[in-house]
C-alpha cells in the first residue's frame, strides 16, 4: 500500500521549500507546499479505498514494516506504520483539513515576510502529524508527538522579531515538555512490563488479561499518558500555553492549535483505550479533567475581546468535551467530536483570519461590528460554524456533542449537566463574538474588503462539512474498535442540550444585537443599561448580579487574571524563577581559589597513593 508515501510527500515539500525556498518564486513555493499536501490527501483516499474503508472493510489493522530503528537487547523498535479505522478517520481529517488550510494560507500569507519559511514549517508539521497517527508503536507516536510540538513552537514564534511571539513559543514547548515527561515515563513502564512498544503486541497482551485485573500498573500507565495528553491537548492544568499560542499566524491557529495537533491527546487516549479500560479509576479522572477543562475554558472564553482568544479558549473547552467522551467510555463519540470540531473550529479560525485580513490585522472585537455587509461570504460561512459548534440540530456539532453528553449522563448525571451548561456557554461566547463582529455598526476605522477566492473557497468547503459532517457516522464506523453502548438514550437529554445551545445563542443575541450598548464594558454596562431600558425586569438584574456578573467578572478577574495569569502562569514562571534562584545559589559554592583546590588534590593524592601502595606491598 506504500503507506510511507503519505507522510513522505509533505516531508519532501518541507525539504524543497526549506532548502531552496529562498530562490523560488511564490507560485513555485505554493505548488510545492500545497501540492504535497493535496497529493498526500489523494494518496490517503486511494489507500483507504484500496483497503475497502469506503465499502465496509478494514475491520482489522493493516500494518507495514519498513526498518528496525532501535534494537537493544530484546527491545526492538521498528519504523512501522499501521492503519485501522481510527487511523483512517484521523488521516482523512488531518490531510483533508490540512490541505484546505494550506490553500487558504496561500491567500492569507501573500503579503507576509518569510513566505517560504512558513510553508516549509507547515509541511514539516504535516509530516510529523502523519507520523503521529500512522506510527504503530509508542515511540513512533512519541516521535510525531514531539515533532508537531516543534512545528508548533516554530510557527507560534513565526514573527520572531516580537518578543511576545517567541515567549509564547517557548511557553508552548516547555509546558508540552512537562506533559511529555509523563508520556515518556508511561512509555518506559510499557517497555518494562510488556517488553515491547508495538501497539499490536501490547494491546493483544492487555486484551487477554481479564478486565477485573485492574492492577496498579494500568492505572499508572494510564495516568502518566494522561499527563502527556493534558499538555498536548491543552487540558487542566497544562492548558495555559494554548491561548498564548495565538501569537502565530491565523492559519497555524486553525491547523495546529484547533483542528489537528491539539487533538493528538484525544487520539492517543483512544489509541491506548485497551489500557484505559483496565483502569476505571483512570477513566474517571480523564472524564473529570475533561469536564473541568471544558467548563473552566468556556468561562474564560466569555471574557475575551480578542476574536482569536475567544476561539482559543473555545478549543480548550471543546477538547475537554472530547476527554469527557473518552473518560465515560464513549471513545467513538470523542473521536466523532474530534472530527466535527476539526471542521467547525478550523472554519471559525479561518473565518476569523478572513475578518482580520479584511481589517488589516485588527483582532479586537470592540473595533469590529456590522461587517456582514462588507464581507458577506465570510459572514455566511462563520454563521455555519457558529450553529455547528452551538449544537443546533441537524448540524455537525449537534450529533457529536449529543453523543458525548448522553454517555456522560449514563456515566454520572451531574457530568451531563455540567456539560450541558458548558454547551450553553459555548453557544453564547461564540455567538457573542460573531454578533460583535458582524452585527451592529462598524466601530473601527479600516476599509473592510472581502477575501480573495483562494481564501473563501476553503471556507465554503469547511462550511459544508460543518453543516453536514454530522451525517458521517463515525461511531458506527469505529464500532469494530469501540463497541457502542447498548440501548437508546432518553430523548429529553437531547432536548435539554439543544435548548442550552439555542439558549446561549439567544442570550448572545439579546446582549449583543438587541442591546448593542453592552459590549463596551460588560461588567459596568450590564447594570446601567438594564436599569435604564428594562427597569421592570428585576429578574434580569437578579440574574446579572447572581449569574452573569459573577461569571463574567469571575472569569475575567479570578479565572483569567488571577487563576490563569497569576496562579497558573505564575507557577510556570515561578518554576523558572525558582530554578534560577536555586541555580544561582548552587553556583556560588564552587568557584573557589585554585590554591585551595591544589592543596586538597595534593593531600588526597598523597594519602591515596600511600594507602594503595601499602596495601599492595603488604600482600
Amino acid at each position: 500500500m506504500q503507506l510511507w508515501f503519505i507522510p513522505i510527500l509533505p516531508l519532501v515539500g518541507f525539504l524543497l521549500n526549506g532548502i531552496f525556498g529562498k530562490r523560488l518564486s511564490k507560485p513555485a513555493i505554493n505548488a510545492i507546499a500545497v501540492g504535497s499536501v493535496v497529493l498526500s490527501f489523494l494518496w490517503v483516499v486511494k489507500t483507504l479505498n484500496a483497503l475497502g474503508v469506503f465499502s465496509g472493510g478494514l475491520e482489522e489493522s493493516y500494518k507495514e514494516h519498513y526498518y528496525t530503528w532501535i534494537q537493544s537487547g530484546a527491545l526492538n523498535i521498528s519504523v512501522d506504520f499501521a492503519i485501522d479505522r481510527l487511523t483512517a478517520v484521523m488521516l482523512m481529517v488531518v490531510t483533508g483539513v490540512g490541505a484546505l488550510i494550506h490553500i487558504y494560507a496561500v491567500g492569507y500569507m501573500a503579503h507576509e515576510g518569510g513566505y517560504y519559511r512558513f510553508f516549509a514549517y507547515l509541511n514539516l508539521f504535516m509530516f510529523f502529524m502523519l507520523i503521529l497517527v500512522l506510527g504503530a508503536n509508542f515511540l513512533l507516536l512519541f516521535v510525531g508527538w514531539e515533532g508537531v510540538g516543534l512545528c508548533s513552537y516554530l510557527l507560534i514564534g513565526f514573527y520572531f522579531l516580537e518578543k511576545f511571539a517567541t515567549d509564547a513559543g517557548n511557553k508552548a514547548f516547555i509546558v508540552n515538555r512537562i506533559g511529555d515527561f509523563g508520556f515518556a515515563l508511561a512509555i518506559f513502564l510499557v517497555g518494562i512490563h510488556f517488553g515491547t512498544l508495538d501497539f499490536g503486541t501490547v494491546f493483544a497482551q492487555v486484551r487477554n488479561m481479564p478486565v477485573e485485573a485492574t492492577s496498579g500498573i494500568f492505572t499508572a500507565i494510564s495516568l502518566l499518558l494522561l499527563v502527556g495528553a493534558t499538555g498536548k491537548s491543552a487540558q487542566i492544568p497544562l492548558y495555559v500555553w494554548l491561548p498564548d499560542a495565538m501569537a502565530g499566524p491565523t492559519p497555524v491557529s486553525a491547523l495546529i492549535h484547533a483542528a489537528t495537533m491539539v487533538t493528538a491527546g484525544v487520539y492517543m487516549i483512544a489509541r491506548t483505550s485497551q489500557i484505559y479500560l483496565h483502569s476505571t479509576w483512570a477513566l474517571d479522572i480523564v472524564a473529570i479533567v475533561g469536564l473541568l477543562t471544558a467548563f473552566v475554558a468556556a468561562t474564560i472564553g466569555l471574557a475575551q475581546n480578542d476574536i482569536k482568544k475567544v476561539f482559543a479558549y473555545s478549543t480548550v473547552s471543546q477538547l475537554g468535551y472530547m476527554f469527557v467522551g473518552l473518560g465515560t467510555g464513549a471513545f467513538s463519540a470523542g473521536i466523532f467530536h474530534l472530527m466535527t470540531h476539526a471542521f467547525f473550529k478550523a472554519l471559525l479560525f479561518l473565518g476569523a483570519g478572513s475578518v482580520i485580513h479584511a481589517l488589516s490585522g485588527e483582532q479586537d472585537l470592540r473595533h469590529m461590528g456590522g461587517l456582514r455587509k462588507h464581507i458577506p461570504i465570510t459572514f455566511a460561512t462563520l454563521m455555519c460554524a457558529g450553529v455547528a459548534i452551538a449544537g443546533v440540530p441537524p448540524f455537525s456539532g449537534y450529533h457529536s456533542k449529543d453523543m458525548i453528553l448522553e454517555a456522560a449522563y449514563q456515566h454520572a448525571p451531574w457530568m451531563y449537566w455540567v456539560g450541558v451548561f458548558t454547551a450553553g456557554m459555548t453557544a453564547f461566547y461564540v455567538f457573542r463574538a460573531l454578533f460583535l463582529c458582524f452585527f451592529g455598526e462598524y466601530r473601527g476605522h479600516h476599509h473592510p474588503h472581502e477575501s480573495p477566492a483562494v481564501m473563501w473557497m476553503p471556507l465554503a468547503v469547511l462550511a459544508a462539512l460543518s453543516l453536514g459532517g454530522g451525517y458521517i457516522n463515525v461511531p458506527k464506523f469505529l464500532e469494530p474498535l469501540f463497541p457502542l453502548a447498548e440501548g437508546g438514550a432518553e430523548p429529553w437529554l437531547t432536548y435539554v442540550s439543544v435548548a442550552a445551545g439555542l439558549g446561549g445563542i439567544a442570550l448572545a443575541y439579546l446582549f449583543y444585537v438587541v442591546s448593542p450598548g453592552l459590549p463596551e464594558s460588560l461588567a459596568n454596562s450590564f447594570k446601567g443599561l438594564h436599569t435604564l431600558l428594562y427597569n421592570k425586569y428585576f429578574v434580569d438584574e437578579f440574574y446579572d448580579a447572581t449569574v452573569v456578573e459573577p461569571v463574567v467578572d469571575g472569569s475575567r478577574q479570578l479565572l483569567w487574571r488571577v487563576g490563569d495569569a497569576r496562579l497558573i502562569d505564575g507557577i510556570a514562571n515561578g518554576i523558572g524563577t525558582t530554578a534560577r534562584g536555586i541555580g544561582g545559589i548552587l553556583r556560588r559554592g564552587q568557584s573557589g581559589y585554585i590554591r585551595n583546590y591544589a592543596a586538597w588534590v595534593l593531600a588526597g593524592t598523597i594519602l591515596a597513593i600511600a594507602y594503595i601502595g601499602f596495601m599492595g606491598a603488604s600482600r
Binding site: 530503528w69 532501535i70 537493544s72 526492538n76 514564534g157 513502564l189 583546590y597 588534590v601
Partner: protein, 510 residues
Amino acid sequence: MTLLDIVLFLPLAGFLLLLILPKESSRMAALVISLAVFVVSLGLLMPYWFQYPSGHTFSSDIQWISYPPIRYHVALDGLSLWLVLLSTLLTPIAALVSWNYIDKRVKEYYAFLLLLEFGVIGVFVAMDLFLFYVFWEVSLVPMYFLIGIWGHERRIYAAVKFFLFTMAGSVLMLGAIIFLYNRTGTFDYGVIQGMIQTGSLVFDTRTEMLLFLAFFGAFAIKVPLFPLHTWLPDAHVEAPTAGSLMLASVMLKMGTYGLLRFCVPLFPEAAHRSAPWIAALAIIGIIYGALVALVQPNMKKLVAYSSVSHLGFVVLGIFTFTQQGLDGAVYQMLNHGISTGALFILVGYLYERRHSLEISAYGGVATPAPNLSIIFLITTLASIGLPTLNNFVGEYLVLQGTASANFGWAVFAALGVIFSACYMLWLYQRTFFGKASESLSHHMPDLTTREWAAIVPLVVLMVWMGSFAQTFLPSISVQNAAILDQTKKLRVERVAIPARQTAEVSRANR
C-alpha cells in the same frame, strides 16, 4: 602492521612532519593529514559492516619494554570503533574551525592538535594498562597547551586547573595499575581480565572497592561527574573553539570509556555495590547541570554545564547494568560528541563575528545570519533530545534501561529532559530572536563555505544517528552484551526485559 596501527601513528607522523614544515603550510598540512587519517580510519569499519564480531579486531601485540613487561598491545572492538572514528572525524573539523581563529604560533597549534589526536586514539585502543596510562597522559599535555597558549584572558588559570584535576585522578589510577601489576605480574588488560573471570585473581571486598575507586576517581573527574566537574566550565570558557570541541567531544569520553572498559568489567562486585551512589551523583549532575546552565550569562559556560548534565545520562546508563542502559550510554557518548561539539563550533562562529561570549551581546542574529541560525536551531534541537535527531535515541535507551533497573531514578533523570528544553530554548531566543541592533547586523555575516564544510558533516550525523540508529547500534550492543556477561555474577534478575542480546538477534535485524 594493521590498519589500526596506521590510524594511530599517522597523526604522530603528522605531528613530527609539522615540526619540520615551514609554518605557512602547517594549516593546510594539518588539514590534509587529519583528513587522510579520517579516510584511512573508515577502513576500520570493514569487519563491522556486515557482521558484528564480539572479540577484538585489528589486534597487534608486540613487546615494548622487556622488564617490567610492558607491551604495545592495541586492538579494536565495538566500543572503541566508534570513539576512534569520532576522534578522526572531529580532528579535521577542529582544523577547519581554527582556520582564521588561530593567528599566532600557528605551527605549534596544529602540531599539538595532531598530537592530541594521537593521544586520544591511543587511549581508545590500548589494551595494555600501562600503555593506556601513557596515552592518557599524552593526550593531557597538548590540551594543556591548547588552553594555556591559545585561550582567552584567564587561560593560565583554566589550563592549570584542568591539569591539576586530571592529574590528581590519573595518579590515583596509576597507583591502582601498579597494584594490579604487583599482584599479577602483567599489565595486559586481557590477561588480567581473564584471571578475574576464571577466578585465579580474587580480591577481598575492601581491596576491590579501593581499586575500583582509584580507577573510578580518575574517570569521574574526566567525565566529569558531579561534584568533580568544576574544572570543566573554566576550561571550556578559556579554550579556543577547537580546544573546546576536542575537549567536550572526545576527551570527556575518555572518562566514560574508562568506566565501561575498566571499572565495570575488572571490579564488577564493587561496581554493583557502589552503583546506587554513582547513579545518585549522575542524577544530581543531570539536574544540577541543567539548572546551573539556566542561569549562565556566558554561552560557553552554558554549553559546558549542559555537558555535565548530558554526561550524567552516560554514567547513569552504565551503572544500570542493563543492555539498554549500556547501549544508550555508549550511543550518548557519540551523540554528545556530535551535538555538543557542534554547539561549541557554532558558539565559536558567533565569537569570531562579535568577539563576545556573553549572551547579552547578541539578540536578533536570525535576521542578518539566517543560515547560521537554522544550523544552530537544528543543533539545539538535537541537544534537547528531539526525536529523529541523535540524542533522542541515546536518552531514550538510557532512561528505558534506568527505568527497568530503578523506576525512581528514571523519574528524576527524566526531569533533566524538561530543563534542557528550558535553558537551550531560552539561549536560542535571547541570541537569535528579536530585533538585531545596528552594530550586530554589521558584524554578522552568514556562514562561509569553510564554516559550512565544518558543520555540515555533524548535522548530517545528527539526522542519521537519530533516524537510522541501527547503522551504529549493533556492534555497540554486541560489545556491551560481552561486558554484561563479564559482570553477570551480580546481574539484577528482576529486570523484565532480557538484558542480554545475542549477536544472532542483531544480525537478523540488520
